[in-house]
């Protein structure tokens, strides 16, 4: 029975309540979760707007924790923070989300064609793949034995089944394609290896300067409008993950609409198929109930881990983890817990660490042997853009990639506005063997020299600001010119241009290598007394500026061209 209602927090007397139990409240049977127990009273965070609840209203214990349903039918769908399917909710309640709607997460009536991969008499255990369903042209949904079940396959049949129908009998237990998993519980992975393969995103500053490994974790903080969402959308569109889970956590409704509208039309660069065939969306927008926002990142992680366990490379984006942290703070405040820094609860850091720990790469549970990975990219929205605040700081402690978005760059419309001097990736050493083998032997040197040029530029800019450009040497002026090329012709990348929005690793390398060749040859030329203006007017400069819009083969010619064109310049002579 309800004793108290304060916003999203309800205190109630509940039969046999355990921490984590799902509770149904009031006539509308609103969904909540026990977050604290004190004597006979349970504090319940409610996943729906609580207006209308009364003292004395019913509080019924369902006896099970908040769980996701895992079965064919999730890919291409859009769910709210507690995995309610928004499309079906619209059918049930119209354009606005009414309260107390009960619809199953995954459709019960659809039949899927199941193909077994084990035989009667085989011995199977948890995680073993017993068959599959072609869920979308891009995703082969592998059906795994749920945890806690093992034994001999007594029967298994191919055919069309709904997710609740029995597809096999194992050790006397009937198995269907539907499993449940408590969202807050991490799904185990065997042998978490350090990842040596990058998640290729097609975004030049990321792949070439600050790459993320498959199975890694990245933090993207920045003030409003700096470009966090666009970067995450770009990664969802172009990265070479097998499956994308995009969690819109307390952000804008239209950003979800954007994905829903674009992804069926955009083509996956690898397969040419519509992107929505490999995407799952979780949308708990800022105006939706705050407790469900807190749950949304876990819902996303549980689904992502499930697909990882099939042996896929999964990438999950959480936009924005600050809104998740604020939901945590809000509930903590209502529970009258002792506030820590900026009012956040003292356990903020450990919750964040738990969350990012769900990323990783390694051997999956069960047979046949397979590897999967889960990469997590979380955006952070610090108040006033101040990176010293607790959510950013606690996130940086557990993520190895830091893409620092810079407001000044965003105001200049330099996108992506990732600051090249402050960002870092701690995966570089791990990824180097792969990159040297797959892209180019000297890829590390090219990157390092480019970054060095940019660092020199920053120092020189200081000097120029004080004493003017005429007072620095031609060689230093060349540094300024070449680093400007890196910034404007390489790092600047429009998310809205059909060609520019994605660059292959090879193309990226050749663009950067061309600038490096230009710089090296031009330095020699300047030593030989060639006029800087002559170098600047070489046709290679314009060609490099256009490289963004060229195909891979044309860009591959640029480094050689740069070397020969600039190398041919002679002092006092005319160019070309």
């Amino acid at each position: 029975m309800i004793k108290k209602v304060a916003g999203p927090l309800v205190v109630a007397e509940v039969e046999g309540a355990r921490k984590g139990d799902l509770i149904r409240l009031g006539k509308k049977r609103l969904i909540g979760e026990v977050v604290e127990l004190r004597g006979d009273l349970a504090s319940v965070q409610v996943y729906e707007e609580t207006s209308g609840l009364k003292v004395g209203d019913e509080a019924v214990n369902t006896g099970s924790p908040l769980s996701v349903e895992l079965a064919p039918g999730m890919v291409g769908a859009i769910f709210d923070g507690i995995q309610r399917p928004l499309k079906d909710i619209m059918k049930a309640s119209g354009f606005f989300i009414a309260r107390g709607i009960d619809v199953p997460a995954v459709a019960r009536d659809k039949k899927w064609s199941f193909v077994p991969s084990v035989k009667e008499g085989d011995h199977v255990g948890p995680g073993d793949i017993i068959g599959s369903v072609q869920e979308t042209p891009l995703i082969l949904h592998k059906i795994m034995v749920p945890s806690g079940i093992s034994g001999k396959v007594e029967s298994i049949n191919p055919g069309a089944f709904t997710i609740e129908e029995t597809i096999a009998v194992v050790g006397g237990k009937k198995l269907s394609m539907l499993q449940k998993w408590p969202v807050r519980k991490r799904r185990a992975i065997k042998e978490k290896n350090p990842s040596a393969v990058p998640l290729v995103t097609g975004q030049r500053i990321i792949d070439s300067f600050f790459p993320i490994a498959k199975g890694g974790a990245a933090c993207v903080p920045g003030p409003f409008g700096a470009g966090k969402t666009v970067i995450q959308h770009q990664m969802a569109k172009w990265s070479d993950a097998d499956l994308i889970v995009f969690v819109g956590c307390g952000e804008r409704g239209n950003e979800m609409t954007d994905v829903l509208k674009e992804f069926p039309e955009l083509k996956d660069p690898k397969s040419g198929r519509p992107l929505l065939e490999k995407t799952i969306l979780i949308a708990n927008t800022s105006n939706m109930p705050i407790a469900a926002r807190e749950a949304s990142v876990y819902t996303g992680a549980a689904i992502a881990e499930y697909f990882r366990d099939m042996g896929y490379n999964v990438a999950m984006m959480a936009d924005s983890t600050s809104r998740w942290a604020e939901a945590l703070r809000e509930m903590s405040g209502r529970l009258e817990e002792m506030p820590g820094e900026e009012g956040y609860p003292a356990y903020l850091g450990s919750r964040l660490a738990d969350f990012y720990e769900r990323s990783g790469c390694g051997k999956c549970e069960g047979k046949p042997e397979r590897e999967g990975s889960l990469t997590i990219i979380g955006s952070v929205s610090p108040p006033g853009g101040d990176l010293s605040e607790p959510v950013v700081q606690n996130t940086l402690r557990v993520t190895k990639v830091f893409w620092a978005l810079d407001e000044a760059l965003a105001h200049k419309r330099h996108f992506p506005s990732i600051n090249w001097l402050r960002s870092y990736s701690l995966y570089l050493a791990n990824l180097s063997p792969y990159l040297r083998k797959e892209v180019a032997e000297d890829i590390d040197e090219v990157r390092e020299e480019s970054l060095k040029l940019l660092a020199q530029e920053a120092e020189l800019e200081e000097i120029v600001r004080l004493v003017g450009v005429e007072s620095i040497s031609p060689k230093e002026q060349l540094v300024l010119f070449a680093s400007k090329m890196i910034r404007e012709d390489f790092l600047y990348q429009s998310a809205f241009d059909p060609v520019d929005q994605y660059s292959s690793l090879k193309k990226q390398y050749h663009m950067l290598k061309a600038i490096k060749e230009f710089f090296v040859r031009a330095s020699i030329a300047i030593e030989d007394g060639v006029d800087l203006e002559l170098i600047k007017s070489s046709s290679i400069v314009e060609k490099i500026a256009k490289a963004r819009f060229l195909d891979d083969a044309s860009v591959a010619e640029l480094p050689g061209l740069a070397a020969s064109l600039i190398g041919a310049l002679r002092s006092g002579g005319r160019h070309e």
Binding site: T50, G250, R329
Partner: protein
């Protein structure tokens, strides 16, 4: 009901004991001995106690003689197709001398969240006639785009100009303006009302006015009334609704007052930790819905305390809205109207609302180029302060000239000048001609050839 008793009155709150069957968020009618009634809503219930927030304030209430009626529903707004042309108080009482509205419906002012799946992406270009908006930070139908202003800057004039000039070209559709005023001065309110009267826009407008002299807590209800009216007109009557809310800073201060009275743990600068969520439940009510004729475009206005963009009110607003239009004191001092600083301003929906078939094929490139060039021009201007103009290179001198011309001719325009998008773009080409051609890196050469000599 006799057992009900008020045990405490603090700030805008009232603690009531001995209640039963009261629900969270319920509306309360408070009858004073004088016969006056006030409205309140239940903020918290616990056992037989209810915490009630009184919209008109608790001034003059006493513990003994007041009687309470719990209404069994939330605060509601009466709506009807006849509501346009009317002026109401911040709590929805008629202020125009005309009788109470005969409602066809009563709607909960809290509304419900729009299902993200039901949304349609806003990409219909709205021509406001203002170059810095149309050209650089384009507004779309269904967008929420706030104006960040500061005391003494002409945000009201700008908002009124947008309200009068805004149109979607080539379409004659029914439209309405909903105006919600929170704690503004009588003069400011008069400025809007007389403007609406003069242009005849009043016929298509609904106004909810809470003045600076009106109860502060009422301001928490006002934007909700305005948005509920807007939802009704847009999604039930199929109109395109422009909502102007001013001044959101006053709204937030009222929230802070309630939060302080509840002794909640304060967030930044004393504002409650849930300010983001609270603002989001207002701003996210803007939008379009699939296959529905109407839309809600929202322009909230706020004044940045101390001109500080990182203050929680503008900061959290910017994190929710789809961009922001920022007014600059520096431009205002130079006598430039509207003093919109394009660099920190942003419209996130611009790129999907412009281009061939929507505005013009050169629009995106022009906008990117203007941003880059103006921002370079401003950097050069800073260099001049330290080094003097003599130290500038030839190119930088051009940038300096460009920045000046851009401010006076592009940003600056008169209060009743409505430029078409073509005029804005042609003007841009004229200004860009100041710069050497090789500096126009953001524009593809085909476009340069196509437009360079045309304007």
């Amino acid at each position: 009901m006799n057992r009900i008793k008020i045990s405490e009155i603090t700030g805008p709150l009232m603690l009531v004991e001995g209640v039963s069957g009261v629900s969270y968020d319920e509306l309360v009618e408070i009858k004073l001995k004088s016969g006056d009634t006030r409205l309140g809503k239940v903020l918290e219930i616990s056992a037989d106690k209810a915490l009630v927030q009184v919209f008109e304030g608790t001034e003059g209430l006493d513990i003994k003689t007041v009687s309470l009626a719990f209404k069994g529903r939330s605060l509601e707004l009466s709506v009807s197709p006849d509501m346009t042309g009317r002026i109401f108080s911040g709590l929805g009482h008629p202020l125009d001398g005309a009788p109470e509205l005969i409602p066809t419906k009563r709607l909960d002012v809290n509304g419900l969240p729009i299902n993200p799946y039901a949304r349609d992406y806003p990409n219909d270009f709205i021509q406001t006639g203002i170059s810095t908006i149309d050209g650089l930070n384009t507004l779309s139908r269904g967008q929420k785009l706030p104006i960040f202003s500061a005391s003494g800057l002409p945000h009201s004039r700008l908002a009124a100009q947008i309200a009068h000039q805004a149109k979607v070209r080539g379409k004659e559709e029914s439209f309405a303006v909903v105006f919600g005023a929170m704690g503004i001065t009588y003069e400011e309110a008069e400025f809007f009302i007389s403007g609406f009267r003069r242009t005849g826009a009043i016929e298509n407008s609904v106004l909810y006015i809470n003045l600076a002299s009106d109860p502060a807590i009422e301001r928490i209800a006002t934007p909700r009334l305005a948005l509920t009216a807007a939802e009704y007109l847009a999604f039930e009557e199929g109109m395109h609704v422009l909502v102007i809310l001013t001044d959101m800073t006053n709204y937030c201060e009222s929230l802070r007052e309630v939060s302080a009275a509840r002794r909640e743990v304060p967030g930044r600068r004393g504002y409650p930790g849930y300010l983001y969520t609270d603002l989001a439940t207002l701003y996210e009510r803007a939008g379009r819905i699939k296959d529905q004729p109407g839309s809600i475009t929202l322009i909230p206005i706020l004044t940045m305390p101390d001109d500080d963009k990182t203050h929680p009110i503008p900061d959290l607003t910017g994190y929710i809205t789809e961009g922001q239009i920022i007014l600059s004191r520096e431009l205002e001092r130079k006598g430039i109207y509207p003093p919109i600083d394009p660099l920190p301003s942003l419209s996130r929906l611009r790129d999907k609302a412009i281009g061939e078939g929507r505005t013009r094929d050169d629009h995106a490139s022009i906008a990117n180029q203007l941003f880059a060039s103006y921002s370079r021009g401003r950097e050069v201007r800073e260099l001049v302060v330290i080094l003097g103009e003599a130290a500038l290179s030839e190119t930088d001198r051009k940038y300096l000239e460009f920045a000046g011309a851009f401010e006076s001719d592009f940003i600056g325009q008169s209060e009743n000048e409505a430029r078409t998008i073509e005029e804005t773009l042609d003007l841009s080409w004229r200004l860009l001609r100041i710069l050497p051609r090789e500096e126009l890196k953001r524009i593809k050469s085909e476009l340069i050839e196509k437009y360079e000599n045309k304007s």
